[in-house]
């Protein structure tokens, strides 16, 4: 068992969730309630990682974050190390790749809050931020949480992007999925089987949790 890889994957997943939580609340809410020019374009862009092969996205990120790019140079000047083939680079890639998994369920969650209940919150004298805290989030949280659970699970299993942006540096970028691949390459089938089984259990628990949450949300709003 490569516990280092598990621990790294969990760290990556937690960072991704922490960074995507505020993004999913504000972007999901905006896409659910506002009408503005370019909304469809933003929705399409958010969905793009779902249809794009991870290796393609990984390739573009490698180029965009690499030492040759302005972003990569800027990062290196600031922090003294490259962004690609580092844990930080993985976090950036993971956040981008998980946008649809985080934002879509959050958006559905906010859409499920009836508009007259939001109107009522404003008419009760709640500022937009108070209404978000006292009315919208208490009703939309199952959607937001579903997005976070999906993001967490998805990050644990991601392979293509991690390999391209991070490579396979033990303790830095070698995540569970990479570790399993490396084990198979080294004919360590038992090790690969143990790690795969662990990942399978985690994934199934995740799906059970999301189903339970959406059923709960449905009951609540009926």
């Amino acid at each position: 068992m490569d516990w280092d890889a598990f621990w790294l994957s969990i760290q990556l997943a937690l960072w991704t969730v922490a960074l995507l939580l505020p993004v999913s609340v504000f972007l999901g809410r905006m896409l659910a309630y506002r009408r503005f020019a370019g909304k469809s374009a933003i929705e399409a862009l958010v969905m793009l990682p779902l249809v794009l092969p991870p290796t393609v996205l990984g390739f573009y990120l490698l180029v965009a974050l690499g030492a040759e790019s302005p972003l990569g140079r800027g990062w290196e000047a600031l922090f003294g190390g490259p962004l690609v083939f580092s844990f930080e680079g993985l976090v950036v890639a993971s956040v981008l790749f998980n946008l649809p998994f985080a934002i879509q369920p959050a958006q559905r969650g906010f859409e499920a809050v009836p508009s007259d209940i939001r109107d009522a919150a404003a008419c009760c004298g709640m500022s937009p931020l108070t209404a978000l805290r006292k009315v919208e989030l208490p009703l939309a949280w199952p959607g937001v949480l579903t997005g976070m659970v999906l993001t967490f699970a998805h990050t644990l299993g991601e392979f293509g992007i991690v390999l391209l942006v991070g490579g396979s540096i033990p303790g830095e970028t070698r995540t569970v999925a990479i570790s399993i691949y490396d084990k198979v390459q080294a004919f360590d089938m038992d090790g690969a089987a143990r790690m795969s089984a662990t990942l399978l259990v985690i994934s199934m628990a995740t799906i059970a949790l999301t189903f339970w949450l959406s059923a709960r949300a449905g009951r609540r709003l009926s």
């Binding site: 209940i117 109107d119 009522a120 009760c124 937009p128």
Partner: protein, 357 residues
């Protein structure tokens, strides 16, 4: 003076062009068929909809003035709204719903008691009946300490019996309401029972505005609103309680017998008489089971689009409406200025249509 002044002109979502004013303590009904723009006007007042041009001023404070670029955000307007669906917060108890509008717990309990919901404070909306939810919504709207109270078809989601109860409830609350109140409804009867003044809207414009009794006998209003609800009110006082269960009322033009109306001799009452319950006769009818025949003068005749016609009659100083066929108008040769008798079955007047003045 805490009056509300509204003027709205807008071309979307539907064309609207209305101007009106509601005084403090006055309940104005905004009546019209669905799609007339009533709810949109309400949303403009609350700040939930921005019209192309409009002014809303409450108690001297400008909430909206498109010409000066003033548009106070919804949550800063001291407005109480009872939504058609009530829009209670489903995750909160009745008490928490009322407190969400800014009331202290003590105040919220007082308001819930005011709408007779004491004992149900901890219930969530899903565990309350439609009528109870409506009353929580009223309490929540009052908890905002509103300078304007807006009721958006608040009775449309409850059954007829509950509705009658809630009318009583609102009527009883009136003494606590010192702000302008607007009731949006498509039900003329509801407006008649609750409002001081009516503004009738049709296709975004004001069709007629004025005191309830005047507006409800206007033929143009009746055409717009449907004739089934047409009727008029006569003033009278209780003259005698008779042995066979009838009450004799004395109106300006003579006696009217109706099923027993409780009250002291001399109590003034107003009787609503539906236009389709009135029969017209040129001569004083004889050999008829109907007990009441009121001498009157034809004021105007408005033919309808179908076979009917609305006849407006003067009974002394008051107005009576009769809805009869155009064929009868011809057969009786009715013309403005002619005299006739309005015949009314005693049993046709429902008890709820007799109210103390």
């Amino acid at each position: 003076m805490m009056s509300l002044q509204v003027s709205v002109r807008s071309s979307a979502p539907i064309p609207i062009d209305v101007v009106f004013e509601v005084a403090a303590g006055e309940l104005m009904a905004l009546v019209g068929p669905s799609g007339a723009g009533k709810s949109t006007v309400l949303r403009v007042i609350a700040g939930l909809h921005g019209p192309e041009t409009g002014q809303v001023a409450v108690a001297g404070t400008t909430w909206l003035d498109t010409t000066r670029g003033v548009d106070m955000p919804v949550h800063r307007r001291k407005v109480g709204v009872v939504f058609q669906s009530y829009a209670l917060f489903p995750q909160m108890s009745a008490l928490a719903n009322v407190m969400a509008a800014g009331a202290s717990e003590v105040e919220a309990r007082r308001l819930l008691a005011l709408v007779r919901l004491d004992g149900l404070e901890t219930r969530r909306p899903a565990a309350l009946s439609g009528g109870q939810q409506q009353r929580v919504a009223v309490a929540r709207a009052l908890a905002r300490q509103p300078e304007v109270l807006l009721l958006d078809e608040p009775f449309s989601a409850v059954d007829r019996a509950t509705r009658e109860d809630l009318y009583q409830e609102i009527a009883a609350l009136r003494s606590h309401l010192d702000m302008p109140v607007i009731l949006v409804t498509h039900d003329l009867e509801e407006a008649r029972q609750l409002a001081d003044r009516i503004v009738v809207m049709d296709q975004g414009a004001v069709l007629r505005a004025g005191p309830v009794d005047e507006v409800l006998i206007d033929p143009a209003v009746l055409r717009g609103m449907g004739l089934r609800e047409a009727g008029s009110t006569l003033g009278a006082h209780i003259a005698a309680q008779e042995e066979d269960g009838l009450t004799r009322l004395e109106a300006a033009t003579g006696p009217i017998w109706l099923p027993r109306i409780d009250g002291e001799i001399g109590t003034p009452v107003r009787v609503r008489i539906m236009a389709h319950d009135v029969i017209l006769s040129r001569d004083l009818p004889a050999g008829l089971s109907a007990l009441n025949a009121l001498p009157c003068v034809v004021d105007s005749i408005t033919p309808g689009e179908g076979p009917g016609a609305m006849v407006r009659l003067c009974v002394g100083q008051e107005v009576l409406l009769a809805r009869i066929t155009r064929r009868s108008v011809d057969a009786l040769a009715l013309r403005p200025g002619e005299t006739c008798h309005a015949v009314l079955k005693s049993m046709a007047v429902a008890r709820s249509n007799v109210r103390p003045r």
